[in-house]
Symmetry: C2
Subunit: 173 residues, 2 copies
């Protein structure tokens, strides 16, 4: 039986060649949530967006075993506050099922939090599903639920909404 | 008396020299919300972050009168979805009090929505205070309140939280 408590990982910045492994985890997460049909991003675009362009759209950290196998990742990008400046938004944090409860998620999260702490804004934002047990984990670390405390709601216009909006605009103008 | 319904504005991308006017509006908004003490960003940093660096952190659109006076702005940045790719996050949308109810906010919003519609992800995200009347305006345009529909909450670790977190980490390790 695997002694999960003794798993040791290295947290490091992802390289282009890690993204195939990361992409599998992104897909696994989408499939778990039964939302894989909404995932349109392919591996090549993910690689381009992070590594093969002048303005990388994100930064990815990975949790790697000593044999090079990647068991988790955190992906964040630079957001902007007109009050504080450049800031960090954590988009994804994921650890493969078999490797959970070893503190790997915590190590990934703290690595991103440390990067956020080093930016001028000293701020880290992220979205959490309210029923996700991770919400309590973040609160114990001191995170504030801005939706509860300040009534911030997250609004979205998706592709169908924007298609409709500009159909309507062009037909009415 | 000013005939507000006849005000005509040009919506265009902000230039570096517009940011002094935009910065005044950012401050006015912070003062209105009585949160100006939390605003640490200065004009020079705002200009640098948007115009004087290799990787601008945001894009700003302005609503300009024929005499060059700027009466409103929208500021957005590129976010990232691991399912859809590059996406647009609208951080601020503001019209000066005396120029409201002329459809200027709508023109600014539609300009940003059109840019979002042209990205591969075709998605526009933003945060709205649930008590803000603008929430209904966005819903009428087809925006979905993801906090209500999918239970997404916005979490934040601010400077004090991150300071405490890394104090604790260094004293306990």
């Amino acid at each position: 039986m695997m002694k999960q408590r003794e798993i040791s990982v290295t947290i490091r910045r992802a390289r282009r060649e890690d993204m195939a492994q990361v992409y599998k985890m992104i897909r696994a997460l989408a499939e778990f949530e039964r939302l894989e049909h909404t995932m349109t991003l392919d591996l090549k675009t993910l690689e381009n967006d992070g590594f093969d362009c002048d303005d990388p759209a994100f930064t990815c950290l990975v949790a790697e075993l000593s044999d090079g196998y990647i068991v988790g990742y955190a992906l964040y990008y630079t957001s902007y506050s007109t009050w504080l400046g450049r800031s960090i938004f954590l988009e994804d944090l994921y650890v493969q099922t078999a490797y959970r409860k070893n503190g790997i998620g915590m190590q990934l999260f703290l690595a991103v939090a440390k990067i956020a702490h080093a930016t001028p804004s000293k701020r880290l934002d992220f979205h959490v599903l309210s029923w996700n047990p991770a919400a309590d984990f973040y609160k114990r670390l001191g995170a504030v639920d801005m939706t509860i405390h300040e009534k911030w709601h997250h609004f979205r216009m998706d592709d169908r909404c924007l298609d409709r909006l500009f159909e309507h605009q062009s037909s009415s103008s």
